[in-house]
């Protein structure tokens, strides 16, 4: 007994010594690095050997392809690239940027990282390279105000290679069976869904399992059609007073509920993940799939010439069509060793002819850049051609919106996903869904 008592005392002593002198966790906000203001001379990679360290997203080969292409043009620059799942990147980004900052990182939305002073302000580069002269909507999602909010305005904290766009993919063979033509209004789209269901075809491929409530794609599309993409952006960018719980959005949520009740999705929606949805569509098991142009290259390979694409139609024919759009973002960490070289690479990737061709060929999406920039040719009749045209339409009309899942770091996992799974299960009223998401949002940004 005496022994165990002594051991206990030793452990207590050890614990106490570990705790003693421990100050509060965390560090004071790091110095705001990369103060804006134009660089003195052209930011470039110099002539000596440079190794750029980068973290890219696994499964998206474009960044790697551009990096290799860059080395062919600038042999003194080589890469140390690590590819990781996006979820892993998202979770580790803050720690990575503090402990071991690379030169270029694929990032989730930038608000929290900007708030912690971990990202370089790119305004100086933007001014030098002329990114400021592009259509402003292209870079809007990557701007953030002081402390990280609101987003959508203020200094530029990230860049991208291309802008993606979401809409409706359709299987041309199945479409022919029901005499489908691309709809001009949402009502026409509804009618096509009903005809497909009558013909015994699953109208919509969807996914809503696990950590990603994929119903957020159709819901956001319907919210933009019933309401406006600008109102959705205000909410995602955390503009003061913005709310998702509006009558127009409630109408959209009821619209989605009608689709669910009509059985337009497969019954195991809540057990279907993203890969399975794409596979079902690509193997001809569903007529439509709401998704983004990042699947264009894959669909052109798997079902060449047999897939079409249109933007979700508006309520009234002829009104502008909205879409989720925005570049996958890449930031330069505040602690980067070669920020000028990384910025030079980002600029090269969107202005160089060969780089832009690589973006279209490998990424299947519209390269960022000035409105009159060179647009590489694509195979006519391919779905890539259709999504490129759609992306250009959204950029020109300024009807792009950020993904509602980007509103806060936890919005997708903690709010949209569980609530949409409940909606799909018939356990949650559409109005409650929006109210609960809004409550979480207020709680998260209030702190």
């Amino acid at each position: 007994m005496a022994h165990s008592g002594r051991f206990g005392a030793a452990v207590a002593l050890l614990l106490a010594s570990l705790l003693a002198g421990c100050s509060a966790p965390g560090v004071d906000r790091p110095q705001r690095a990369g103060a804006p203001g134009s660089p003195g001379s052209e930011p470039d990679c110099g002539t000596g050997p440079v190794v750029l360290r980068a973290r890219f997203e696994a499964g998206f080969p474009l960044a790697r392809a551009l990096a290799d292409e860059f080395t062919r043009h600038h042999p003194n620059v080589t890469w140390d690239v690590r590819e990781e799942q996006f979820a892993v990147l998202t979770r580790n980004a803050p720690r990575l940027l503090v402990d071991d900052p690379p030169d270029l990182v694929r990032l989730p939305q930038v608000a929290d990282l900007v708030g912690d002073g971990l990202l370089r302000d790119l305004d100086g580069y933007a001014a030098w390279f002329g990114w400021d002269d592009w259509p402003p909507a292209q870079l809007r999602t990557m701007r953030a105000g002081p402390g990280g909010r609101p987003r959508g305005e203020g200094p530029l904290y990230a860049m991208g290679f291309s802008t993606s766009v979401t809409g409706v993919f359709y299987n041309k063979d199945l479409a022919a069976r029901i005499g489908f033509r691309e709809p001009a209004t949402l009502a026409e789209f509804d009618e096509a869904l009903a005809r497909a269901a009558e013909a015994g075809i699953t109208p919509l491929a969807g996914f809503n399992a696990g950590a990603t409530g994929g119903l957020v794609f159709p819901l956001q599309a319907l919210m933009a059609a019933h309401g406006s993409p600008a109102a959705i952006n205000d909410w995602v960018f955390q503009r003061p007073g913005a709310t998702i719980d509006t009558p127009a959005n409630a109408e959209a949520a009821r619209h989605l509920q009608r689709w669910l009740r009509a059985g337009y999705f497969d019954a195991d929606l809540n057990a279907t993940d993203y890969a399975r949805m794409v596979d079902r569509f690509a193997s001809g098991q569903a007529l439509f799939m709401l998704d983004g142009d990042w699947e264009s290259a894959t669909l052109d390979r798997r079902m060449p010439g047999r897939v079409g694409f249109f933007l979700v139609p508006p309520l009234r024919a002829g009104d502008p069509r909205a879409a989720m759009s925005g570049p996958p973002t890449f930031g330069i960490p505040a602690g980067s060793a070669h920020p000028d070289c990384a910025a030079a690479f980002l600029n090269w990737a969107v202005t160089d002819r060969a780089a832009r061709e690589t973006t279209v060929r490998v990424g299947g999406s519209l390269p960022l850049g000035p409105a009159d920039a060179h647009l590489p040719p694509v195979e006519p009749g391919s779905v890539t051609a259709a999504t490129l045209a759609a992306a250009a339409e959204v950029v020109a009309g300024g009807t792009g919106m950020d993904f509602v899942a980007n509103a806060t770091g936890a919005a997708l996992a903690e709010s949209w996903t569980p609530r949409l799974q409940e909606l799909a299960a018939g356990e949650r009223a559409p109005e409650d869904l929006l109210r609960l998401v809004q409550d979480d949002y207020v709680e998260q940004i209030g702190g």
Partner: protein, 280 residues
Amino acid sequence: MSRLVGWLFVLPALSVYAVFVLRPLALTVQYSLYRWDGIGPSTWVGWDNYLAVLTEPDLVGAIGHALVLVVIFTGVPLCLGLPAAAVLRRATGGRAVRAVLLLPQAVPLVAAGFAWSLLLSSTGAVNRLLAAVGLDGVTRAWLGDSSTALAAVGVIGAWALLGLCTTLLLVGVDRIDPALHEAARLDGAGPWQEFRAVTLPGVRRELGVCATVTTTAALASFDVVYVTTQGGPGNATAVPGLEVFSLAFAQREVGLASALAVVLVVLVLAVVAPVLRWSR
């Protein structure tokens, strides 16, 4: 002097234990008293995080789910393992059966989770089997239906733990002096009385170990849930382990995550301590 030498021998293990177990534990307790995003400055909040753990419906619900899993993870392996051990002791070919029973324990739970989510999917083997015997009416995506998801997760965990418990109990049953069984039978005990008076007390320690291992596995469950449902649909299968992970890494509420982790540790100790005392 000799005492000092004793400490010297303990030192290597103790230092590893201190660095990898005690220090993180102490830091977790410390973090739980702050509001902190894991990077920036932190604010002292005292017991607020604990209050939130015990009042926020999502977190309380997660703890409730863990308790349901305790019933399934512990109940099924013990209720099936004990009779299985009693029967296997006499059966011929017991060795092969033992190997098969222990197999789930050798499969990583993540792999088992993937395999089971295929079996339990809407077009999986379980549903085809049900349809084949005329039970089309009950087929469903077991992990995608909020009324069955938690039970389905429980079945996967129970499946993985059944073999371990049966094997442990078999060892216990084997260790009982055959003379006791013989004496019981000579005294006119039937199979049931023999089981109650000889077998059950004989495997008390093994029962305790099984209950401890399975209870801990249920309360601290993470891998099965992460692989199969990620807490969904809705919050139907949210468990504390998953919530700690999501709070710390997705929501960046390191303080709240730490408080939940501490509550989880206390809960595990509170449930396991009486079991250990009973089985001693």
